[in-house]
């Protein structure tokens, strides 16, 4: 530094530097001020629907909001990618431009919460996981849409709320008698199994001999376990008449300290008659049913690929695609990738069925994972956002979305004959949706998921017993939810 300062031309540059510093500081100040003011205030949009009729274009879609720009954020999934591809159709029909931002689950929630809590209005319309519905609704972050839906403001030719799958509609958009959104996809969990192995005569005979009943897709947890045990083989063993070059496993499951593990466990807990809350809304995390379900799940890990304690839904999907696991309880939205020749070694070999139950004839349950469209209360473009939601859920768009491998939320798309013929998982997805059950949507969901993922992970690595882990979870949740109990609305 010394050398630079005693440089001969110092006097000249001294002045320059002083000015430079002043300019720099001013720039910083200006920049920080502009950063604080709400960015990009959108142009005002006419709020009345009076001119609707006149403004309706030939396509039957309202051009009333032509020129409006909507900011939309959604999870970075195939569904969003496809929707993005289809969006030019919306712009053409309505003149509304949509900026799509894609983000993974965690980051999406964080971005949205920060935008909502600062009331910056950065997003007009969002696609959000439904477990945040309670929180966002009660904090007044998202708009109730009852009025909008009843008055049917803009005529939308191809859309009807009657076409939305009832379980999705009810479960994922309604909070305490008000509707806050519309389903954006229909993710649901179901059972994936290797159809080709179940139909193999040799295996059938061997199974019958060992277990005393015929080999078929599991309908009870006992059968699911037996099948898992039966098909767990070492490299060099024979499987369906062929010698294995690598180990083969009876199940694939998620056991990482991750939300995937919590979501999968709910299926076992519910079918065992458990759940987080009892009928009076008090916590019952360490109930017998819950403990039994966790003990059962732990038993299954003996037949799972190594590394299940760091597996999420991604690894479960990969194990099935690579043909190294015989069964899994996983998400319907991965079924498309099973039937994709480029990614899958088991195209056409996977069967899809409802999640097994404890006893034959028990009520079927499937964990619902749908996302929902919702509108920010800070938006200036409510009506345009409504229009986009309806467009996205219109018959033709839902059909195109399905044809491109996405998951629709409408009855019409699921009952489309062509799709039913082409996609082996189509029928089952609809069945599972009808059987679906939702996870708690109370504002404390973040803590619930956090506490459960820690405790379940401890069980998976055999650090503690299921009973101890669930007692610990009960204790921690009791503390975390003390202001929210009893939970009357899930």
């Amino acid at each position: 530094m010394k050398n630079i300062i005693s440089w001969p031309y110092i006097k000249d540059i001294q002045e320059v530097l002083k000015r430079g510093a002043v300019i720099l500081i001013s720039l910083i100040l200006i920049a920080s001020f502009t950063a604080c003011t709400p960015s990009a205030t959108p142009p005002a949009v006419p709020e009345t629907g009076l001119e609707t009729e006149a403004a309706t274009a030939e396509s039957g879609w309202s051009k009333e909001y032509e020129g409006t720009t909507l900011n939309f954020i959604a999870e970075a999934t195939l569904n969003t990618t496809i929707l993005k591809e289809l969006l030019p159709d919306f712009t053409e029909k309505t003149g509304i431009i949509v900026n799509v931002e894609e983000a993974p689950y965690d980051s999406l929630v964080q971005k949205v919460v920060l935008d909502f809590s600062t009331h910056k209005g950065g997003y007009d319309i969002i696609s959000m996981p439904y477990e945040y519905l309670g929180s966002f609704a009660e904090n007044g972050y998202i708009m109730p849409l009852d009025e909008e839906l009843s008055k049917d403001a803009a005529p939308v030719p191809d859309f009807s709320t009657d076409d939305l799958i009832p379980s999705l509609w009810e479960a994922s958009t309604k909070w305490k008698d008000k509707i806050y959104g519309m389903p954006s996809n229909s993710a649901v969990m179901m059972m994936f199994y290797r159809k080709d192995l179940m139909e193999n005569e040799q295996e059938k005979a061997a199974f019958q001999e060992k277990y005393g009943y015929p080999l078929a897709p599991a309908t009870t947890w006992q059968q699911y376990r037996d099948i898992a045990e039966f098909f767990t083989r070492k490299a060099g063993d024979t499987l369906a008449g062929e010698t294995l070059t690598q180990d083969f496993y009876g199940v694939s499951l998620a056991g990482k300290r991750h939300i995937a593990t919590v979501l999968e466990w709910f299926n076992y807990a519910w079918t065992y008659g458990g759940g987080l809350f009892d009928s009076s809304g008090q916590l019952q995390v360490n109930s017998d049913a819950n403990i039994k379900s966790l003990e059962y799940w732990l038993e299954l890990t003996a037949f799972a690929p190594p590394g299940y304690t760091s597996a999420t839904w991604d690894e479960v999907t990969a194990a099935l695609q690579q043909g190294t696991a015989a069964q899994a309880i996983t998400w319907a939205d991965t079924a498309g990738s099973m039937e994709d020749t480029n990614a899958s070694k088991v195209k056409g070999k996977i069967g899809y069925a409802s999640i097994p139950t404890l006893k034959e004839g028990d009520k079927k349950v499937a964990h619902l994972g749908s996302w929902i469209y919702a509108i920010s209360v800070d938006t200036q473009n409510k009506d345009a956002a409504m229009l986009m939601m309806k467009w996205a859920l219109s018959k033709s768009i839902q059909l195109q979305l399905s044809q491109k491998g996405g998951l629709p939320a409408t009855i019409s798309a699921f009952s489309d004959e062509e799709l039913n013929e082409k996609l082996p998982y189509w029928k089952q997805t609809m069945v599972s949706l009808e059987e679906s059950r939702i996870r708690p949507r109370i504002p404390q969901w973040g803590q619930i998921s956090d506490i459960l993922s820690e405790q379940l992970s401890r069980v998976m690595v055999k650090e503690v017993s299921p009973a101890d882990a669930l007692s610990e979870a009960q204790k921690q949740l009791q503390e975390a939810l003390k202001d929210a109990l009893p939970v009357t609305a899930e």
Partner: protein, 315 residues
């Protein structure tokens, strides 16, 4: 490593009253140079710390209704006392920092010594050595995620080649997962220590080393009794830098284990992140941050005080 303020550097060596307030031209220039960073530092450090401090006396959540900044006194601080998970995480990060920095120093000094003895290709070697340190921690996390994968990871494959069959992934067992994180940190940061120590070694005058050799000291004695004491000021700074970094370890753990299996790798910063951004309890998160900050500051001051008092760094 002389600790001197840059402002005192240019002032004349006079002790008169005027001289105390007299700013030489060089000092003025220095202030102009420093001003932008002072303004920026004030904006990005002093304001957030002040704001966090007020937050610790409030109840503030972004997702739970009715927690919008109500004053709750010392409730957050009281909660910390009984928060076992936090203390456990703090203990874990203490162990992590100690192990990682200790191993890094041992291997780093050894590496630096070796590099100091060779002359051919030293530049190339030091440049190559820097690669792990300049990689983004997130990339390192993703990379080791593949290396340690239980089914098709490189690590298990290599182990199998030398005859050790590991049935599970190294990250899937609580104790090996923690060890793996320490090892990755050593891999990432050992070169940093090695480079600093190498620079220190090259600055050591030849004479004392020669004198030691003439007196009949062997290589180990020369290193241990002559070289190392002269390197201590450099070492102290290197350790302080690394410890300050290691205490806030987050990226790699977040990507590799998410704190699991169980709670085996849940370090303090990860716990803070969970409280603030999974549970959205920002006020409690700020309180934990304050405690962490104070503890780290106290440790640094204590460390500095001990070393300065012992005359390792001349004022």
């Amino acid at each position: 490593m002389q600790i001197m303020s840059s402002a005192s550097r240019g002032s004349p060596a006079s002790n008169s009253w005027r001289a105390q307030f007299y700013l030489s031209r060089n000092t003025k220039i220095a202030i102009v140079f420093l001003l932008p960073s002072i303004v920026i530092l004030a904006a990005i450090i002093i304001f957030p710390i002040g704001y966090s401090l007020t937050l610790t006396f409030q109840s503030y959540s972004l997702v739970i209704p009715g927690k919008t900044g109500q004053w709750i006194g010392f409730e957050n601080y009281q909660k910390i006392i009984s928060d076992e998970a936090f203390w456990a995480a703090l203990g874990r990060v203490g162990l992590f920092t100690f192990l990682a920095v200790f191993i890094e120093v041992v291997i780093g000094v050894a590496f630096a010594y070796l590099l100091n003895t060779i002359h051919f290709g030293r530049r190339l070697l030091t440049s190559l050595l820097l690669i792990p340190t300049i990689l983004t921690p997130v990339v390192i996390g993703l990379m080791f995620n593949l290396i340690f994968n239980a089914q098709f990871g490189l690590f298990n494959y290599l182990m199998q080649l030398i005859g050790i069959r590991i049935s599970d992934g190294i990250l899937n067992n609580p104790s090996t997962a923690f060890a793996a994180l320490v090892a990755i940190d050593v891999w990432e940061w050992m070169p940093f220590i090695a480079l600093i120590m190498l620079a220190g070694m090259q600055a050591i005058p030849e004479q004392p080393l020669e004198a030691a050799q003439i007196d009949g000291a062997n290589a180990w004695q020369t290193f241990w009794m002559v070289m190392l004491p002269m390197l201590r000021p450099v070492l102290i700074v290197a350790v302080l830098f690394r410890a300050a970094e290691a205490i806030r370890e987050f990226d790699k753990v977040y990507i590799l284990t998410g704190g699991g299996p169980g709670t085996a790798t849940e370090l303090a910063d990860l716990y803070l992140y969970r409280v603030s951004f999974s549970n959205w309890d920002l006020s409690y998160g700020a309180t934990l941050g304050m405690i962490m900050f104070s503890l780290a500051m106290a440790a640094a001051i204590l460390y500095f005080y001990i070393t300065v008092k012992r005359g390792e760094i001349q004022r």
